[in-house]
Amino acid sequence: MHSYDLLVIGGGVNGTGIARDAAMRGLRTMLVEKKDFAAGSSGANSGMIHGGIRYLIDDPQVTRLACLDSGYIQRIAPHLLFRIPFLYPVLLERPGEPTLMDRAFLYGAECYFEAYDRYQPLKNGKAHTRLTDGELHELEPGIVPGTLGAVTMDEYGIDPFRLCTLNARSAAAYGAAVRNHTQVMRLLRDGPAVVGAELKDLRTGRAEEVRARCVFNAGGPWAPKIAALAGVEVKIRPSKGVHVTLDRRLSNYGIICKAVDGRDVFVMPHEDSSIVGTTDDDFYGDPDDLSVTRDEVEYLLQAVEHTFPAVRQARVLRAWAGIRPTLYAYGPLEDALSRDHRIHDHEKDGAPGFFTIVGGKLASFRAMAQEAVDAVARKLGNSAACTTHQVALPGGEAPAPEAQELSRKHGVPAFAAARISYRHGAEAERVLRAAEDEPDLRAVACSCEGVTFAELAFSLREEFAESLADLRRRCRLAMGVCQGTRCAGPAAALVADERQLSSEAALADLTALLDERWKGNRAVLAGEGLAQAELVQGTYYTTGGLRRGGGRPWR
C-alpha cells in the first residue's frame, strides 16, 4: 500500500493549490479528483483574480488578502493574467437633470473606489479615475447616454482551468502523485484517526487503498459529502452562480451594471468572448446536477441591457452554473454572506488527521493553500517555508515567446501561436516541439480558439488530460463560437490515437462532449444559436452517423 504524508481530496483551485504547496515543502503528497481539475466551482466562476472590492466594508480582510495574493499570482503565472480595466457608470435615477441623490451616489462610489486604491499597489493595479459622461462614451460608446459619469477600477482576468492544471502539474513536478478521474470511496480509520482512503479509478474501475498521515478535504461544494465519509459535519451555505457567455467581446472594458434588484452584474471580456455574471441564490440541490433556467439568463441579460443596450445584438453562446461553497450563516441575504474562508482541523470533532477547507475566493487561493498546509505541517512537524508565492508555475518562469516568432519557427498559423503563447507562456516552444517529429500535429483542430493538435497532444501527454472534456478545460477546445461543431470530431480522432481507444470508446467520449456543450446551449437557444444547433445535428448525427451504435446496421 502506498503511503503519503498528505492526501488532498478535490482538484479545484484549493486542492491543487494545497497539493502544490505541500509537495514543495517536501511532504509526500497525493492529490485525487473525481472528475477533472477545475471541473467544479473553480472552473465555473468569472475567471477573475479580483481584489474583492465588494467585500471592502464588511470583510476588509478578504479584500486585503485577495489583493495581496493577486500580486503573487501575477508573479508566478504572469502569462495567464490579463488586465481588465472596469468602468462603473453612474446612471441617473430618472432622465433629465441629475438629482441630489444621483450626485450623492457618484460621490459615494468615488469614496469607495478611493478606499480600494489603497490595496491596488499590492496587485499592480492603477488607482481609480473619475470620468465625465463624455469621457466615458469616448472609451465605451455602447453605454447608455446621459450618465452622470463613471469611476474606473483595475482588475485582472485569468483562465481558471489552466490555473488549476498548472498547480496540479507543479505538484507532480515536486513529486506529488496526481490522479484525476479518481474518487474517494471511503476513508480508512485507525481508531478515531483518519489514516488514508480507498480510491477508485473511475475510468478503469480499479480500486486502491492508500495510507496518509493527514487527509485534506478540499471538495468545495462537495466538502460536506466528503466530511460525512469521516463522520464529521461540515456546514456550508451553498449558493448557485450563473454566467452566460457571449459570442464576442462586447467591450474591451469590464462594465459594472445594475440588475433589476439593485445587485451588481459584470460583463467582462474573456479571450474572444464576453462573460456576464453572476447570480447568487441559495442552492439546495446536487452539485453534480446543475441546470440554468431561462429566468436566470434573462435576469443577467436585462442587467447588462440596462447599461449596455447592444448586448441584445450579441449571440448568447451558452449559460453555465457553479456552486459557491460559502461559509454557513443563517440570516443574511446571499450577497451579504462573508467570502472569508475557514480551515477546520477535525481533531476537535473526533477525527484527528482530517482537515477541511471551505469558503474563500479564487483570487486568494494561494494564501489559503499556504494556511492549510501550515496547519498540516504543524501537525506533521514539517517546518519548511512556503515558497508558492516565489516559484513560478509551469510556463511562468520566463516571458512568453512572441507569436509571430513562434509561428515562423514552428509553421503554425500566427493566430494559433498567439493563443498558445497566452495559454502556455514560456512553455509554448515545448508544446510545439512535438510537431517537429509529427508534422500532422501542426494542423489547427479548433479555428475559433486557435487550438492546434500539438497543443491537444501536449495536454494528453503532459497535463493529465484523458478525455475531450479534459482538453476543453485545458485548451479551450469547443469553447469558441462554434461550440465544438468543427473541432470535436477531429479532436476525438486524436484522443483515440493517443489513448489507443476503440472507435466505440472514442465516439462515446465525443458524445459526452457534445452532450456537455448542448447542455449549456440548450438554456439559451434563440436566433443564430438555433442555426448552430442545426449545424451540430447535421455534422454529427445526420452526416456523422453518431446516433447509431457501432453494430452492423444492414441485413
Binding site: G411, D440, G489, E534, G538
Partner: protein
C-alpha cells in the same frame, strides 16, 4: 418594372432547385431567388429519404415515418408518398448525372450504407459516384482490404479514426487499414483543410502526382480499394477514373462534414441543372411586398415580382427560412407565415423538455420547427417545400435531403399547375387536379 414569371421559387437549395426544375419541366416560366448557399451546400451531399432500424426498403421506412408523425411532410403526401419517392429518385438521377449519382432506383430498394467521417455508417438512397461505390454492405460481402487514405494534417488524424470504425463493420471478410501516401511533404501541408485539399486535387498536375504516390502506397499496403477523403470540387467523376487508372484499384470517397466538399458539389450541380433547363436564377433577398406579392431586394434596388404562383423553399434555421426571435417567437422570414414547433408558436419557456431533449442526440422537436402546410403543401398563398416545412428531423429520421427533393418536386409541379401550366409529366397520384 416588375419581373413577370409563372412560378417564383424562393430558396436555392435542393428543395428549391427541385421545385424550379419540376415547374420548368411542366412548362412553366420559372424565376428562382436565392440569397446564398444554405444547408444543402453544407450537407454530406448524400440524399437520404428515410432510415430504418431494420434496414427496410426506403419506401417502407418512409411510410413508417409518416405513420409515426402526423406532422411529417411525408404524412401530407398520403398515398402519393411512395410514387413521389420513385419519381424523385428518377428525377434526381436525370438532373444530377454530372455527379455520377447512383444508388436506389425505386422506393422498393434499400439504402446504401456510406462511410462517414466518424467511421460510422450512414444510410442514404443516393450518393455521388465514388461515395455510392463505397457502399459498406457491398464491401463487407467481399474479401478486400480497404485502404483509408491519410493525406495530411487533421485529415490524416481523422483517417485513423475512420479506419478504426470501419474495421468492425467490414469484418470478417474485409478489413480497413490506413494508407499514407507520401504526397504532402511540405511543411505547410499539414495546415490544409479538406476543401483546400479538394482544390489542390482539381489541378491536373497535382492529381497525377497523387495518383503516382497513391499507387505506390496502395501496393505497399496491399490495398484492394482506396477510400479518399475527397475527389476534388470540379469533376469527381473524371478524378476518380484518373486515380483508378493510376492506382489500378477501385477508388472510393468519404462523405463530407461541413464545410463539405460533396455538399458544395451538389450545390454547384443544382446550379448547372437550373441553368441548363432554362430557370432564371437571381441572387437576391425575397420578401413580401405591401400588396402581399413577392419582391426581391438586391443591394438598394427593390423589384416587384408578378408570379402565377409562389414556392417557398427557404430552409430552416440554417437556411434562414425560420427564425426564433429573442423573445422565443418563431417566425417564417419571407411571408410571415405561421411557424410552429411541436404545436407551439414560440420556443419561449426554455429549457423545455418537450422541445429539446437533454442529450445532444435528441429528439429535439424544437429543431423541427417550420411552417405547417396542408395536403397540397400549401400554406397561405405559397406552396411550401424542404426544411422550411416543419415536422421532420434529418438527424433522427435519417431523411433530410430526400424530404427536400420529394416535397420540392411535388410543390414545383403543383405551383406550375396553379399558374395555369399543364404539368404533363406528373405521374398519377402525385398531382391531383
Amino acid at each position: 418594372m416588375a419581373l413577370t414569371t409563372d412560378v417564383v421559387v424562393v430558396g436555392g437549395g435542393l428543395a428549391g432547385a427541385c421545385a424550379a426544375l419540376a415547374a420548368r419541366e411542366a412548362g412553366a416560366d420559372v424565376l428562382l431567388v436565392a440569397r446564398a448557399p444554405g444547408a444543402t451546400a453544407m450537407s454530406s451531399g448524400a440524399i437520404d429519404f428515410a432510415g430504418a432500424e431494420d434496414d427496410a426498403p426506403i419506401g417502407e421506412a418512409a411510410r413508417k415515418l409518416a405513420r409515426a408523425a402526423p406532422g411529417h411532410p411525408y404524412a401530407l403526401l398520403g398515398d402519393g408518398l411512395v410514387p413521389a419517392i420513385d419519381d424523385a429518385l428518377a428525377f434526381l438521377q436525370r438532373h444530377l448525372s454530372a455527379l455520377g449519382l447512383s444508388g436506389a432506383r425505386t422506393a422498393a430498394d434499400r439504402n446504401l450504407w456510406l462511410a462517414t467521417p466518424l467511421g460510422r455508417a450512414k444510410p442514404a438512397a443516393l450518393a455521388q459516384g465514388g461515395i455510392a461505390a463505397g457502399d459498406l454492405r457491398n464491401l463487407a460481402a467481399r474479401e478486400a482490404r480497404l485502404g483509408v487514405v491519410a493525406l495530411a494534417g487533421a485529415q490524416a488524424i481523422e483517417a485513423r479514426l475512420v479506419a478504426k470504425g470501419l474495421t468492425p463493420l467490414l469484418a470478417p471478410l474485409c478489413e480497413a487499414v490506413v494508407v499514407a501516401p507520401d504526397f504532402y511533404r511540405q511543411r505547410g501541408d499539414a495546415l490544409r483543410t479538406l476543401p483546400e485539399i479538394a482544390q489542390d486535387l482539381d489541378r491536373p498536375g497535382r492529381r497525377a502526382a497523387l495518383g503516382a504516390s497513391l499507387g505506390r502506397a496502395a501496393a505497399q499496403a496491399h490495398a484492394t480499394h482506396l477510400l479518399l477523403p475527397t475527389l476534388g470540387l470540379q469533376d469527381p467523376v473524371a478524378a476518380r477514373a484518373e486515380l483508378e487508372r493510376a492506382t489500378g484499384v477501385p477508388v472510393l470517397e468519404l462523405l463530407g462534414a461541413p464545410p463539405s466538399v460533396p455538399g458544395l458539389r451538389l450545390q454547384r450541380a443544382l446550379q448547372a441543372a437550373l441553368e441548363k433547363s432554362g430557370v432564371r436564377s437571381v441572387a437576391a433577398i425575397a420578401e413580401r411586398s405591401s400588396d402581399g406579392q413577392v419582391q426581391i431586394v438586391r443591394g438598394v434596388e427593390c423589384e416587384p415580382v408578378r408570379a402565377g404562383s409562389v414556392v417557398l423553399a427557404s430552409g430552416r434555421f440554417l437556411g434562414g427560412g425560420i427564425r426564433c426571435e429573442a423573445d422565443g417567437r418563431l417566425r417564417e422570414t419571407v411571408f410571415d407565415l405561421p411557424a410552429r414547433a411541436a404545436g407551439r408558436d414560440a420556443l419561449a419557456a426554455l429549457p423545455n423538455e418537450r422541445l429539446f431533449a437533454e442529450r445532444a442526440a435528441g429528439p429535439h422537436p424544437g429543431l423541427a420547427a417550420g411552417v405547417e402546410a396542408d395536403s397540397e403543401l400549401r400554406s397561405g398563398a405559397a406552396f411550401v417545400c424542404g426544411a422550411v416545412l416543419g415536422g421532420f428531423d434529418p438527424a433522427r429520421d435519417e431523411g433530410g435531403l430526400g424530404v427536400c427533393a420529394v416535397t420540392g418536386l411535388v410543390a414545383g409541379r403543383r405551383a406550375a399547375r396553379a399558374a395555369g401550366k399543364a404539368g404533363a409529366s406528373a405521374p398519377a397520384g402525385v398531382v391531383r387536379p
